[in-house]
Amino acid sequence: MILNDLLQIKDQERAARKKTTLRCCMAAGCMSSDSKGVKEQLEKAVADAGLQDTVEVRGVGCMKLCCEGPLVQADPQNALYIKVTSENAPSIIAALKGGKAEAAQTDPDAAFFKKQLSIVLANSGVVDPDRIESYIALDGYQALHEVLHEMTPKDVVDTMVNSGLRGRGGAGFPTGLKWGTVAKSPGAKKYVICNADEGDPGAFMDRSVLESDPHAVLEGMAIAAYAVGADQGFIYVRAEYPLAITRLQTAIKQAKQLGVLGSGIFESPFNFTIDIRIGAGAFVCGEETALMASVEGKRGTPRPRPPFPAESGLFGCPTLINNVETFANVPAIYRNGAEWFAGIGTEKSKGTKVFALAGKIKNTGLIEVPMGTPLRTIVEEMGGGAPGGAKIKAVQTGGPSGGCIPSQHLDTPVDYESLGKLGSIMGSGGMIVMDESTRMVDVARFFMEFCMDESCGKCIPCRAGTVQMHNLLEKILDRRATPRDLLKLEELCDMVKNTSLCGLGQTAPNPTLSTLRFFRNEYEELLQPEAHGPKGNGEAKKQTLTT
């Protein structure tokens, strides 16, 4: 494979384009509403109408507005059909010829779409994830070629540093710095791992990226591997995402066949292979050291850092671990330059962020916005507010490691620092909207139960602390707790936060702490007055100690 071959595929694919394309969403959300049947019916209707030469029906990845699926977009007519069924799908073909479509439509220029800025999701809903040619037609793998032939690994790292990209997994560690550390670590064998263990309940960005544009992740990993000097990569995917796994397997196979993965990529001395590792349902495996233990076939328990994975990671070798979205940003950065990327976003948070908008909100789905976009724009303008005109009470970001941002802080710009100041985190991108009917103590208990179940049991603060905090929250919800219990809860939160081994325990108290900070009255309303008299007091004390 040389550049000319790549350009030839690109030209062929572009020349084969037909006058009209019907893009049909084939991501997991729409698939569960029978988008496969819709696509079959569309293809049949095209054949019946004899339009095979002018109309292409293309299965694509996520088209973002998941709540209205299955979605079908007709171009160049710019018509977006929603909730299409296999019964009314043929009428869309009739509409192409001037008839009337029975399927409902929505405005593709609505705020939900117009306010987005797509880098990671640029190809999502456009390319056919099952065909590498479709990705190549949109300049795919050209960045990899350029990197391999025109840049030294050091240049590649420098470009990443200049772009200002920060880890999209949640913590926001500068990606360039991480790449530089792994590149400098001595060792003949190095690894690149893509963390696709998207365990946050309420987050589905990584799933969508893998299902919609798997090649962008593969290309990003290959560029990273060249920069750090690795020749083996792993993608650790959750077993709960069967479609993403299938699409990745197809993508890797096609990339190997074309020679953009494997040995001697683009006739350079660079070799790189990628294997998939399937998780088995453990939230803690999102933590990098636990994830590596799991790739090694062990129980997914974290270990203390240092040594950091950049020095001693998988099988004791220097290892680069980045999140799916981080890798998906990489090809665009090398195609358009570090300056272009650094020009987007805020001073400290560059680029865009993908969020999975869900919960009590009108438009649920995927959005990608520049860093620094106010929460209000996302929730009210793009999301359309809570359904039925209910009042939005809070927005939860960061899943079980994050916090609840109350409605009075909706003007906060979305970036790593601003969210951190409010006691939440950027997290991987789950954004759950809650309205007045949501009880915040219940939310805190929900997340604590999650952390309690998912604690791996290695360190005591997390193993025992989450159980005790959960008991206290249950006690509060049952109206059996006293103000003393609330104090105890706060003490425990502080202790678990500061003494746990890994991120799971260190952040487990966050949802409780943030709801305590902004919705303390809801806790206090549930409290019972302290028992009176010395005897009663003693008993109360005894009880709390034994819970």
């Binding site: 997991a28 959300g29 799933r207 088995a280 076939g297 129980r299 809650m434």
Partner: protein
């Protein structure tokens, strides 16, 4: 399973291997292990395959895996019990997985699961006495845009309600 007295488990290996020689599924599993060159780090992959073949991971199966991969049984058992995805008990004819992710939860997944529990009289993780239905919960299946989601025998059902869930269960149990 954990409660099984230890002595009855001693020297199980010859019996396990003899049993395995007569079952095709063990052969397939061994081929899969060979594909991974019997590497220790392939343990989770092997267990995935074993569960796919047998439906659940029973003690003898784990013993077989540990013997073939040359790993101590404690390590295999430790891994199998650590990850939620592996079942150590047989599942019912049908499985119903209710997503309990945050998005599903705030949209009423708790009511859906309560209705199913009411109908089947079993709790999450259990199987009905007639072995028809297993009820499970998932942490998040990533279908938050169509919450609440329930997975019936591997097919995701969007926007579930207590009524729709009970209807599906009744269809399975024939009541």
């Amino acid at each position: 399973m954990i409660a099984t007295p230890l002595h009855s488990k001693r020297n199980r290996l010859p019996a396990v291997l003899e049993h395995a020689s007569g079952d095709k599924r063990f052969k397939i599993l061994e081929v899969h292990m060979k594909k991974h060159q019997f590497r220790h780090d392939a343990l989770i992959e092997v267990l995935h395959k074993a569960q796919e073949l047998f439906g659940y991971l029973e003690d003898d199966l784990l013993l077989f895996v540990s013997y073939k991969l040359k790993l101590p049984p404690s390590r295999v058992y430790g891994v199998a019990t650590f990850y939620h995805f592996f079942n150590l008990k047989p599942q019912g004819e049908h499985t119903c997985v209710v997503c309990m992710g945050t998005a599903c939860y705030v949209k009423g997944a708790d009511k859906v699961i309560a209705a199913i529990q009411d109908q089947t009289k079993i709790r999450p993780g259990e199987t009905t006495p007639d072995n028809k239905v297993s009820l499970l919960t998932a942490r998040c299946i990533g279908a938050c845009g169509i919450a609440p989601a329930v997975v019936y025998d591997g097919t995701v059902n969007p926007r579930a309600t207590p009524e729709s869930a009970v209807k599906q269960i009744k269809k399975w149990t024939g009541t």
